[in-house]
């Protein structure tokens, strides 16, 4: 199915063979030349998992992980800082275990350039890292300037985005928890494709839950360029039950056929303005604190703009991204179709049916680690399989999920595990509660699998 990898593996085999010959002639150079060097750029979920599993599969590999920040702030579950469920400290993940338990060389530095011909990555401090294979997992870049009046400066000071955790998360938490009684919180959901499909809606839901207790006259408005979202039926059924949210008519029709839907005479504080209702964001006015959408202008006390996003900046720097802003790859190995000996995984990659999620990045990393190890040994990469199974919250005690298993079907990555992806609408209270608890457990086990 895939001719490229076998071609690469022939080359690699040849270079290993040459290396062996050189080893015979110059023993002192042998070790450095025959030990395959893998460089991983990006210390998020994708990069960390790749580095760990490369070492798990073959401890003799020379694996270097280059990451800009010394401490990783996990984005998954970071909305729980906003409602005070956890603190910013709880998001911190360190690289010690990768280094100490698996022998990954962790370099804290910023990658500035890729020399694909010399097979070398260069960093801000002037270091150069040669590789036999390079794995790039650069995550996302937020396109703040997609909206008039919005910019990174505005996001940092007044209208946070907080889709990559950091100071903006802390700022948004302060703003939300300090919002005046009866204030309005507007969350601008992003257009497709974006990282973590249920994420914006989980964030709005958790804040609605918090406001119900702490600021019961507050308002929460989600403005959306889209008319639907991943987990929409189960998420909104939760809102219907928890927040006196009335379902849009088309959803109510679909859902009421299977399970009871409440129609609230006096709707609660949460509303969702869809694309077809004019929900697409046009302009932010940080001074007046207004957000202009196609359907009108809303003045708010707190505005969270989840900006459109594309592959992390390095993808462009390294010429890995195409005009879509994301990186095309071979499905079997996630090898870049643009630059040889380089693989791209995670949110930055174009992965057909796989959503942009941590779980996807985690399983992509494992497939790539395996492919690299096999190809370096002169064998073809095996048939891959990926998953995306993760939990989300409609409330602290109300959980839901999406569950996907993927294989390559007709040359593209497609789901193979049945028609249904989501928690059934008629789930029992026990299932719903367990989903919420499993979500918390998953945050822990997932972090362990990626970083420890």
């Amino acid at each position: 199915m895939n001719t490229e990898p076998s071609l690469l593996s022939r080359r690699d085999w040849m270079s290993s063979a040459l290396g062996l010959l050189a080893a015979a002639a110059a023993p002192s150079l042998a070790f450095a030349q025959t030990r395959a060097r893998i460089v991983v750029v990006g210390g998020g979920v994708g990069g960390a998992t790749t580095a760990k599993y490369l070492k798990l599969f073959d401890p003799s590999l020379d694996v270097t992980l280059i990451e800009r920040a010394p401490v990783y702030l996990r984005p998954y579950g970071s909305s729980e800082v906003l409602n005070g469920h956890i603190s910013m400290r709880d998001l911190e993940v360190r690289y010690d275990t990768l280094r100490d338990r698996y022998g990954v060389r962790v370099v804290i530095d910023t990658v500035t350039a890729l020399d694909a011909t010399a097979r070398e990555v260069r960093t801000a401090s002037g270091q150069r890292f040669g590789y036999d294979r390079l794995v790039v997992s650069p995550g996302i870049e937020l396109m703040y300037d997609a909206y008039d009046g919005y910019s990174e400066a505005v996001a940092r000071s007044r209208v946070p985005c907080a889709w990559i955790p950091g100071e903006q998360t802390a700022l948004l938490a302060r703003q939300l928890q300090g919002m005046r009684p009866g204030g309005t919180f507007v969350l601008a959901a992003p257009p497709n494709p974006y990282r973590c499909p249920p994420g914006p809606y989980e964030r709005a839901a958790l804040m609605t839950e918090w406001f119900q207790r702490h600021n019961p006259t507050a308002k929460v408005i989600i403005v959306d360029p889209k008319d639907s979202f991943v987990t929409d039926e189960t998420m909104m059924l939760g809102w219907n039950r928890l927040y006196r949210f009335n379902l849009p008519e088309d959803y109510e029709k679909k859902i009421a056929a299977k399970v009871e839907v409440l129609r609230h005479a006096s709707p609660g504080m949460l509303s969702w303005v869809r694309g077809k209702e004019g929900g697409r964001t046009l302009r932010i006015d940080a001074r007046r604190m207004t957000i202009e959408i196609e359907g009108g202008v809303i003045r708010a006390d707190v505005i969270n703009v989840i900006a459109p996003m594309r592959a992390g900046r390095l993808a462009a720097t390294m010429n890995l991204a195409d005009s879509s802003g994301f990186c095309p790859v071979e499905r079997r190995t996630f090898a870049s179709t643009r630059v040889p000996h380089v693989h791209v995984i995670g949110d930055a990659s174009i992965a057909d049916a796989m959503p942009k999620s941590g779980f996807s990045a985690n399983t992509q990393a494992k497939v790539v680690a395996r492919a690299i190890v096999e190809e370096l040994a002169g064998r073809p990469a095996p048939e891959p399989l990926w998953e995306n199974t993760c939990y989300a919250l409609a409330g602290s005690d109300y959980g839901l999920f999406v569950a996907d298993v993927f294989k390559i079907v007709d040359g593209k990555i497609a789901r193979i595990n049945g028609a249904s992806r989501y928690l059934p609408l008629d789930a029992s209270p026990a299932q719903i509660r367990l989903c919420a608890r499993y979500q918390q457990a998953w945050l822990r086990t997932f972090t362990q699998d990626c970083f420890a």
């Binding site: 207790r213 039950r241 409330g395 026990a430």
Partner: protein, 266 residues
């Protein structure tokens, strides 16, 4: 909208008008929400009163009579089977078997989880959430269901390597205790064959030895403190680590350790 200072919610009559649900139905369907908002935040430790023998007796007596057939339904629909096994014999190393457990003990554990007297690890936190979703009738029923199951055996859990001497010491503790350390025989509460004894003293025969070992260590360290009048804590504090390991292995075999003694002698 301009100039409006007070905007009331607008009720738009639908073409197929859905009548407002009667309060009772609304309350029932929103029970989930009520439970959710009232349910303890996983981060706040609850403050439950420790048992006295009297309050424990009263609490257990207050439970309705349990029905094992109904209990099977609870076991299946509330995900008990998922962790504790189809017939109450847990398929993993970490969790206890419930098969053959005394109904009073199982019920007490559910009350302890529900009220936060027992919260020693992540598993216990999950149990708290589940126990809070059970009615007293469901607790009584599921306890009756487990009591009806045969005691576990040959669960396949790895046993720690304990010497024959340690096992003999374990048998001594079970049958005779140790007067020097004021340790009463385990059998005096837990039954001659570890089948459980008076009131809420649990069955130990066939229990997952890793779980039993952890439990004794937790009582020893105080991580578990839901025992009435601190009985188990007192005994556990006086046991050595070797004795704890040996007791766990001893009880793991339903024929009260003789088999284990034979194996250790090989």
């Amino acid at each position: 909208m301009k100039g409006a200072t007070m905007i009331c919610p607008v009720f738009i009559p639908r073409r197929s008008a859905r009548r407002v649900r009667p309060l009772a139905v609304l309350a029932a369907t929103l029970a989930l929400a009520a439970v959710s908002t009232h349910a303890s935040d996983a981060h706040t430790p609850p403050t439950a009163q420790p048992w006295t023998p009297a309050t424990l007796r009263q609490a257990l007596a207050a439970l309705p009579p349990g029905d094992a057939a109904r209990g099977r339904t609870v076991h299946e629909t509330m995900f008990c089977a998922s962790c504790h096994g189809e017939r109450g014999q847990a398929p993993t190393l970490n969790w206890p078997h419930l098969a053959g457990q005394k109904a009073a003990y199982t019920a007490k554990m559910l009350l302890d989880y529900r009220d936060g007297r027992r919260l020693e690890n992540h598993g216990a936190l999950l149990m708290r959430d589940l126990a809070q979703m059970l009615t007293p009738q469901q607790m009584a029923d599921v306890a009756a269901f487990y009591a009806q199951q045969p005691l576990p055996r040959d669960d396949g859990t790895p046993r720690a390597a304990v010497s024959a001497e340690a096992l003999r010491q374990a048998e001594r503790l079970v049958r005779h205790g140790d007067p020097a350390r004021l340790i009463t025989p385990c059998a005096s509460c837990h039954g001659a064959r570890g089948e459980g004894g008076t009131r809420e003293a649990g069955a130990l025969a066939g229990q997952n030895p890793l779980y039993l070992r952890r439990t004794l260590l937790d009582f020893q360290s105080g991580r578990r403190h839901n025992d009435a009048v601190k009985g188990m804590s007192t005994f556990a504090q006086r046991l050595t680590r070797t004795e704890i390991e040996a007791l766990a292995v001893y009880y793991a075999d339903p024929s009260a350790g003789r088999h284990a003694l034979r194996q250790a002698a090989r």
